[in-house]
């Protein structure tokens, strides 16, 4: 591997992925610098969520390369855990562990993966829960929390390993419209703190207002990308225009 400028936190080079005979990602090239908020938009089935999963090896790529904080995803000597400590992921369905309290959801990984003591993990968890505005719900179970609260706990859980980059997979799509605000507020704050974020989203307000780079995907390829202003107000490709006219 040649000496590449280490400016990219996450980079995808020629990434290909098929599920059976269906080619989901066709030669994806993308670079996300530290502190960037990269928003991926596009119709359903365009491969957006798959891209995220290729970054933390939840999905194994068929070709090309993904590099995260200098670690190559296709390198067999790079352990899953090393990769996943650097990448935090927030899911559309929250995926909180229902049999654990909010606090335990957040302390689980720091204890098992980072080896923190119970006290250290708890202190970190309470701080993060406070950050997302849910300190007093630490003892509550997911079933007792609203969707927005669950997702905020999920964000705290993902932040607990102090990752270098945060992935958001349609984080607000499963929430009632009135509740998306509380989750977006947390995401905005993370962006303001210069967290490197890659967000797949249907919700156009966030990319326009907070995104630093917008990527439009369709049919497994990146059709157009650029600063929010360019993509939203001056789309070049026909497909981009068609998509935007439908969703905006």
């Amino acid at each position: 591997m040649t000496a590449e400028p280490r400016s990219a936190m996450v980079s995808l080079d020629g990434v290909r992925k098929s599920f059976g005979s269906h080619e989901v990602l066709k030669d994806i090239n993308l670079s996300v610098a530290p502190g960037e908020v990269c928003c991926i938009i596009g119709p359903s089935g365009s491969g957006k969520s798959t891209i995220l999963r290729c970054i933390n090896r939840l999905v194994r790529i068929d070709g090309g390369e993904v590099t995260v904080d200098g670690l190559r995803v296709t390198d067999p000597t790079v352990k899953d855990v090393d990769l996943r400590r650097r990448v935090g992921m927030v899911f559309q369905q929250f995926n909180l562990f229902p049999h654990m309290s909010a606090l335990r959801n957040v302390t689980l990984a720091p204890r098992k993966v980072l080896g923190l003591s119970a006290a250290e993990a708890e202190a970190r968890a309470l701080s993060l829960l406070g950050k997302v505005g849910l300190a007093e719900k630490a003892g509550s179970y997911p079933a007792q929390l609203s969707g927005g609260q669950q997702q905020r706990v999920a964000i705290a859980r993902a932040l607990a390993l102090e990752p270098k980059v945060m992935l958001f997979d349609e984080a607000t799509s499963a929430l009632d419209p009135e509740i998306t605000g509380e989750v977006l507020a947390v995401m905005r704050e993370l962006a303001a703190e210069h967290t490197t974020m890659i967000c797949v989203t249907h919700e156009m307000g966030f990319p326009r207002e907070v995104g630093t780079h917008v990527v439009f995907m369709d049919g497994g390829s990146i059709v157009e990308e650029g600063p929010p202003r360019s993509v939203f107000e001056n789309p070049q490709a026909e497909r981009t225009k068609a998509f935007l006219s439908k969703v905006l």
């Binding site: 933390n56 939840l58 899953d80 855990v81 990769l83 996943r84 400590r85 990448v87 935090g88 992921m89 899911f91 369905q93 995926n95 909180l96 562990f97 229902p98 049999h99 689980l108 990984a109 098992k112 993966v113 179970y141 997911p142 079933a143 007792q144 669950q150 999920a154 859980r157 993902a158 390993l161």
Partner: protein
């Protein structure tokens, strides 16, 4: 009623101490059976979902064989056929072991279904957090699988409890065995069957009530 006039429950009163002892034996076999079958169930389910094809096949063969054959025949085999290869154990041990394997095989299927019912999103979240296979299994999958499996496992326990009556076939003195003993001496049987029937029925009602209570308490751990 003419029929009722022929019932003489003094036989039951006289046999009460023996019956009580039999009930204790029934309880012991049930307790041992529960513990054993859960161990077999968890171990077998782990093998059934293992990466090793040999393990999966072996566990599947064990499960299918025991589930599809009668527990009474297993008991007979343990007691009469095993001595031929030098395994000589007391009747109660042979019978309890046979029951553990039978109900254990059923438990394997129940627990496996429970493991597979844990939503894929849970596995994804655990993976994304960097949790290793064992941690993921122990902390995320098993607790949820057990909660999901609880109703079916409860039914398996009730089935085990009723199946303990089969041990009487090889002379073990559980409550059914005691009843048969008394009947052999006194020749009057309806009273005793009604009595032990009531014992089993009331016990099953109690089990079911406890089970429903536990299920309702666990409901708060389900989203």
């Amino acid at each position: 009623m003419l029929a009722a006039a022929r019932l003489d429950f003094s036989i039951v009163r006289e046999a009460a101490p023996a019956l009580a002892h039999g009930a204790l034996v029934t309880a012991e076999i049930t307790a041992a059976g529960l513990a054993g079958s859960l161990l077999v169930g968890i171990g077998g389910a782990a093998l059934r979902t293992s990466k090793s094809r040999a393990a999966r096949t072996a566990a599947a063969a064990f499960t299918e064989f025991f589930r599809n054959t009668p527990p009474l025949v297993h008991i007979f085999f343990a007691y009469f056929a095993l001595p031929a290869i030098g395994i000589n154990v007391p009747g109660i041990v042979a019978a309890t072991t046979a029951l553990i394997l039978y109900q254990g095989a059923i438990a394997i299927e129940i627990i496996r279904a429970g493991l597979e019912a844990v939503p894929a999103g849970q596995l994804e979240a655990a993976d994304a957090l960097g949790l290793g296979g064992l941690d993921r299994f122990r902390s995320v999958v098993v607790p949820q699988a057990l909660r999901i499996s609880l109703p079916a496992l409860g039914n398996n326990l009730i089935s085990l409890f009723k199946n303990t009556s089969l041990v009487s076939a090889i002379g073990v003195l559980d409550i059914t065995g005691v009843a048969q003993d008394v009947i052999a001496q006194r020749l009057s049987s309806a009273e005793l069957y009604l009595t032990i029937g009531a014992f089993y029925l009331l016990s099953v009602f109690a089990f079911s009530a406890v089970l429903r209570f536990v299920e309702s308490r666990l409901a708060r751990y389900a989203t």
